[in-house]
């Protein structure tokens, strides 16, 4: 009985959606063109995704899988035309096998290509050892490139404002308070994360201040997250009301 009612709700909703679109096209609010059908498709997919808020249903499942498939297909095409073709196929493969081109093949590209192919050999039991060469290269290069840059950009450059003098002349009282707050926040949070000392007495009091700073930062993050998720909803409703139904101008 319950399954039947779910089925009727789904069919009824799809029927209503079709009727609305027929009305919109007949009244000229939606153009009878690829653009018009694109908007209908976008509206249908949006509503199908949001239908999950009521209950998990086949329409949501179909659109969810469609999203994964389309995203992957799009990524493959973009990667081929933006990266593999201009950076590998055209400079290496085409000159090797085509007599029409005057350019010499860039044989140096064979090395990174082989390293890339070795990654895929993880799937072969006999040859998976070759993928270690690629991983060794990636880890070595990554560490060598990243460590100095990360220390410089995220530690040394971040320490500078923390060590900014409270009174160096010319600043307002608020900027001095701000500097003091930053100093207090940095010290108290760092002390909170020292777990080798028992949080009692002065250490305990300062670490409690650290907890307050952490809680305020979590609150700020949560507030921003609410704003972000709402923005996505607002954007979709703007699309539905403006582009699809034509209610908003």
């Amino acid at each position: 009985m319950r399954k039947d009612s779910n089925f009727f709700i789904l069919v009824g909703t799809i029927g209503l959606f079709v009727c609305i679109n027929i009305f919109l096209m007949a009244s000229g609010k939606l153009p009878f063109s690829f653009d018009g059908f694109g908007i209908i498709l976008g509206a249908g997919l949006t509503l199908a995704i949001y239908s999950f808020l009521y209950k998990d249903n086949p329409a949501f499942k179909i659109v969810e899988n469609l999203y994964v498939g389309v995203s992957l297909g799009y990524t493959i095409i973009i990667t081929w035309f933006n990266f593999l073709k201009p950076d590998l196929y055209d400079p290496l493969i085409v000159p090797m096998f085509s007599k029409a081109t005057t350019k010499a093949p860039q044989y140096a590209l064979i090395i990174p290509s082989l390293l890339g192919l070795f990654m895929l050999l993880r799937f072969s039991r006999k040859l998976s050892w070759l993928s270690r060469w690629t991983f060794a290269f990636v880890v070595g290069l990554g560490a060598g490139v990243s460590i100095p840059r990360v220390i410089s950009s995220f530690i040394l450059e971040q320490i500078k404002p923390s060590l900014h003098p409270v009174f160096s002349g010319g600043e307002t009282i608020f900027s001095s308070i701000n500097t003091l707050l930053i100093m207090l926040g940095v010290i108290s949070v760092l002390i909170y994360f020292i777990f080798s000392v028992e949080h009692k007495g002065a250490i305990g009091k300062v670490s409690k201040i650290g907890i307050w700073f952490l809680m305020i930062s979590f609150g700020a993050s949560f507030g921003y997250t609410v704003m972000g998720r709402l923005s996505l909803l607002i954007g979709r409703i703007q699309f539905l009301l403006k582009d699809w139904l034509g209610i908003l101008q």
């Binding site: 799009y74 990667t79 490139v145 450059e157 993050s221 921003y224 709402l230 923005s231 908003l248």
Partner: protein, 271 residues
């Protein structure tokens, strides 16, 4: 009282949806003052002389379109109205369609010509490696643009050999690309960097404002709305501030209501 704590979440979804729809349909003005971090980007663009090179990294995909596309459009309006040369690129394979749409639609409004006034280099993987490559030689990183044109012959790129010659770089980020641009680009090749990010990432970016590693920041739809208002191109972000504000008030009421009910029911249990 207990039943208020077990309220069906779908009722809350319905209230939020109705609040968004009503506040979008009913038109009322809300003040949108520009914050200091948004002004940082605006004033930097204002200070650039004509024909300066601005690079926009469209590092987002359709999942973050609602927040970042209005920023991209408003920023492009500002750049083209100031006759700046705009170069686009992306680290995200899902971005080219959105970037192309934004650049073409805004450029057409200012009669800007592709190749002479703006260019879109397209997508390349590599992240940090790509930035380092661009910092050493832009043409080696992008020998061809998104449409397959030879980048060495494009007039818009004349005078630009690497990231060092970029006057301002604006990263629209839905992921960790702002940190990557700072560490491997800005700090090494010494260009000015501004960023726009999703609201979720906003609080993590404030330390970079404090350290002046970012000249400015547009955080979420609010940042986009402030920029739209500054460049006088009010569109989806500005109109989105009405439901944003209304729903925030509703959520605050829900939070207070939930806590009051929780404490009352706790007290009645103890009594």
């Amino acid at each position: 009282m207990e039943r208020f704590l077990r309220i069906d979440r779908r009722i809350i979804f319905a209230i939020i949806t109705v609040a968004v729809i009503v506040s979008l349909v009913l038109r009322f003005e809300l003040p949108i003052p520009a914050s200091e971090q948004v002004l940082g980007i605006y004033e930097k663009i204002e200070s650039l002389p004509k024909d300066s090179h601005v690079m926009i990294a469209f590092d987002y995909d359709p999942a973050s379109k609602e927040e970042l596309q209005p920023m991209a459009v408003a920023f492009l309006h500002h750049c083209f109205s100031r006759d700046l040369k705009v170069i686009g690129m992306t680290h995200y394979p899902g971005a080219p369609g959105l970037a192309e749409q934004a650049m073409t639609s805004v450029a057409n409004q200012y009669q800007k010509k592709y190749g002479d006034d703006y260019a879109f280099l397209g997508y390349k993987p590599g992240s940090a490696s790509l930035i380092i490559n661009m910092g050493e030689n832009l043409y080696s990183a992008f020998p061809k643009d998104f449409y397959g044109n030879d980048t060495t012959t494009m007039p818009v790129l004349q005078g630009v050999d690497s990231l060092r010659e970029i006057n301002y770089l604006f990263d629209l980020a839905a992921g960790t690309t702002i940190e990557t641009w700072i560490a491997f680009g800005k700090e090494k090749y010494k260009f000015e960097l501004g960023a726009g990010c999703t609201a979720v990432m906003g609080p993590d970016m404030y330390p970079f404002l404090q350290s002046k590693q970012l000249t400015g920041l547009l955080g979420g739809l609010k940042g986009a709305a402030e920029y739209e208002a500054l460049v006088n191109k009010k569109a989806n972000a500005v109109s989105g501030m009405r439901p944003q504000s209304v729903v925030h008030v509703i959520i605050i009421i829900f939070v207070i209501f939930g806590n009051v009910i929780y404490f009352i029911s706790k007290r009645s249990v103890h009594a």
